[in-house]
Amino acid sequence: MVAEPFCERARAALPELVLGVLGGDERAAVLKHLGSCPACRAEAAALSEAADGLMLLAPEIEPPVGFEARVVGAWRAPRQRRWGVSLVAAAVLAALLAAAVVWIVGAPDRDLARSYRRTLAAVDGRYFTAAPLRGIDGAAYAYSGEPSWVFVVVRSGPAGTYRCSALTADGTTVGLGSFEVSRSPGHWGTVLPFDVHELAMLRLELPDGGSASASF
């Protein structure tokens, strides 16, 4: 069977694709090809196996004592009942959020993580999530619903224009918009063009050229 001409190009790019370092356009083209070429798909699968195996070569190192207790403690078991999404619920959440922002301002970072988890538990963690910002003093909140939204609080940071983007679970970056902060704390929110479960990270480009992020 003669290989399609694109196969050669695709094969050459497969290693970078499976390692997750192939650039946007090329990646899209190769993925599209894989959708219709079982031979290249098989090759990609074999290379993936090797790439995955590589991760197993990193040494096993025990984390600091108490790690597992901290993880399981931070985890909230999923509730069986579903939290109905309605305008009333959204209003309650907004009120809770406002209260949470006031409550959380001034708390040291370790306590913040615990505060967020408690807030999550109150509104059933599946539909509302929060994370501290790394790189600047602040936090990001995300709510899953119709629509999903994110809300960013910058407790103290440089004045100027902040640009916000989202990194989704499949590695795509989505620009969300920009906002001005003239005096801290600043805050801003926007609707997410995708469900919050796809949200992996929120990124902020700071007015002074730095960056911050919150991981979900």
Binding site: L19, G20, L22, G53, P59, W75
Partner: protein, 194 residues
Amino acid sequence: MGGFEPYRAVWSPSDEALLAGLSSGDAQAATAFVRRYQARVFGLALTIVGDRALAEEIAQETFLKAFQHAATFDPRRGKVVTWLLSVARNSAIDALRLRRALPTDPETLSLLRASAGEPGPEEAPVQADEIEALKRALAGLPAEQRRALVLAAFYGRTGREIAELEGAPLGTIKTRIRTALIKLRSALEVRHGG
């Protein structure tokens, strides 16, 4: 922790059994799951970011994500450990990018030390075999191929970034990455073929 612990019985529950347990809120299943993989997840995170506090943050995030997705994990799509480590790897790479950190010299990574990648006591024999084969294949690569592969695989560097780092043409780097990964794949194939 006293009393009967169902997940520390003589038999070892499968990953799927633990995931099923923790999807229904079983804290003991969650604890067993974390214990099973914490050294692998933390070890990979630490290997990549080189900072224990950050590595612990990444490891915790990884497990919490795993708990979130436990109910929807599809065993046909691959092994749990593979998925866990790829989440950890991606978080670690993102953390590095945010700090605009340069990667540690790949040669000084502990990957090639004698103790590196040694199978843990609970490692399935098949996996231990695979690890050995890959370790040998990686050690057998020419240094520049190994460097390019490690920079891409562990640090998420693109061909372009590696070309800049190494001062080599992009085409050369792409070839190095490809050749290296193909050799690793062959090492696994030889085992499968028997």
